[in-house]
Assembly symmetry: C2
Homo-oligomer: 175 residues x 2
Amino acid sequence: MMKLTISKAIEVLQQTPKTLHAFLYNLSDDWIFCDEGSETWNAYDIVGHLIHGEKTDWMQRLDIILKQGDNNTFEPFDRFAQFENSKGKSLHNLLGEFSELRSQNLEQLKALNITESQFSLKAIHPELGEVTLGQLLATWVTHDLGHIAQIARVMAKQYKQDVGPWEAYISILHK
Amino acid sequence: MMKLTISKAIEVLQQTPKTLHAFLYNLSDDWIFCDEGSETWNAYDIVGHLIHGEKTDWMQRLDIILKQGDNNTFEPFDRFAQFENSKGKSLHNLLGEFSELRSQNLEQLKALNITESQFSLKAIHPELGEVTLGQLLATWVTHDLGHIAQIARVMAKQYKQDVGPWEAYISILHK
């Protein structure tokens, strides 16, 4: 296990827009809009979801924690906002929007000069109860990584039948 | 499920070196060399493993299938070759090497002008028995995607404790 630090967390948060751009930018719609079945997300949905997080979740919740005010309960996060917000936008639009928002948020995060002693500051998550600033930061990072893995998994599953007996070796096809 | 085609497969095979570069190039050693415990791989090991596949696996096996000779059994693939072959090389070296090898292999693949009627050509895998050209191609693609997801998972797990109650929402931490 690595020790959670602001600088190591930022390393991961900084790579995500570039990684998604390299991953998705030149793929055709078949790859971008494939999913794992009904009620599951495709890569386009996931990029929209990440955008909504940049707009309404991570930095807003960080601010609530840092203020330590009387009302320190987070707004619930809308996991389905992207279905409305992404309408009419191309994936290329979304990748650009995500990159810009992430970049602005990381500038703000750095400017806050958060110290590790602040990692234990608390607020209330509407479903999970008491959470800390350090937990929010670690979740931001793992949330990015989870969605990168999800996109890879969704795409891999398109060839689940096509790999034939090799399916036994490709564990992502069973996840 | 998408239909397997050479052109759609190449789209994915082309993005992998760029995606890994964007993902890993600016990360510090803590991220590159972290793993999931004993006998598990870190990002550095995985890039070395992908290089060994470019050198000894995918195109070599494709050639064996296309030749349809008397001895059409694949050489076993060495899943541990990277531990020797990567010695003394930086991750940046490895990313460059992978990118170059992949690029050469895709040039060769395109030059073969494989048609879908050839997808059913067969050879013998030393453990799995009879496999087809189409299955090999689909496996090359899903193998890349599986390792992208693996790197994301290995990194995410470093913060498994740090996310606190959010662990319930981040399914990659349970894989």
